[in-house]
């Protein structure tokens, strides 16, 4: 079975599940590249940190586009910064491009969303 290059674009804070979905493809022997757009980073739980590390172990990568990745990530968890132009060029080689979930919200979420 051919290994496919799959980019998963996450533009909305509610849809960081795209990273888990990427890991699901990585374990199926595909190359998964979740991309966090414009700073919509996930809450860095142990589960999320493990997922990001596993994607890298499976020869994929998690990118951040538009905002620099946090510098205080857990050990073994890497998020690579990438410009919009670089992302576009890399995605020209993609087999699949998945804009995941919904687009970015135009306002900051209210406090109720933090629970």
């Amino acid at each position: 079975m051919e290994s496919l290059k799959v980019y998963i674009l996450v533009a909305n804070r509610v849809y960081t599940d795209g990273i888990r979905s990427g890991l699901g493809l990585a374990v199926e022997n595909h190359y998964a590249y979740p991309v966090i757009m414009n700073g919509e980073f996930p809450r860095m739980s142990e589960y999320m940190a493990e997922n990001i590390a596993w994607i890298a172990d499976m020869e994929g990568a998690v990118f951040s586009c538009g905002v620099d990745a946090p510098t205080d990530l857990p050990e073994g968890t890497e998020i690579t910064n990438i410009s919009l132009e670089e992302l576009g060029e890399k995605m020209r080689e993609a087999d699949f491009i998945i804009p995941y979930g919904m687009p970015k919200q135009s306002h900051e979420p209210p406090g109720a969303c933090s629970e």
Binding site: L84, G88, I97, P99, G101, P103
Partner: protein
């Protein structure tokens, strides 16, 4: 390479930039799903006529 860009909403500047790069030197087509009455038969024809489809948010 023939590529189809499908939009579920009006594309943002970031999406327009990515599409410009993806479409470069390729035969590109588009379909706007956010129109009032999208013609799904046309969309199916386009999907099967192109090598790749990207459906933006």
């Amino acid at each position: 390479m023939k590529i189809l860009q499908v939009y579920r909403s009006e594309p943002t500047d970031d999406v327009k930039k990515l599409v410009e790069i993806l479409n470069r030197d390729r035969v590109a087509d588009e379909f706007k799903l956010y129109s009032d009455q999208p013609n799904y038969d046309t969309l199916v024809q386009k999907i099967f006529a192109n090598d790749k489809t990207v459906c933006w948010w």
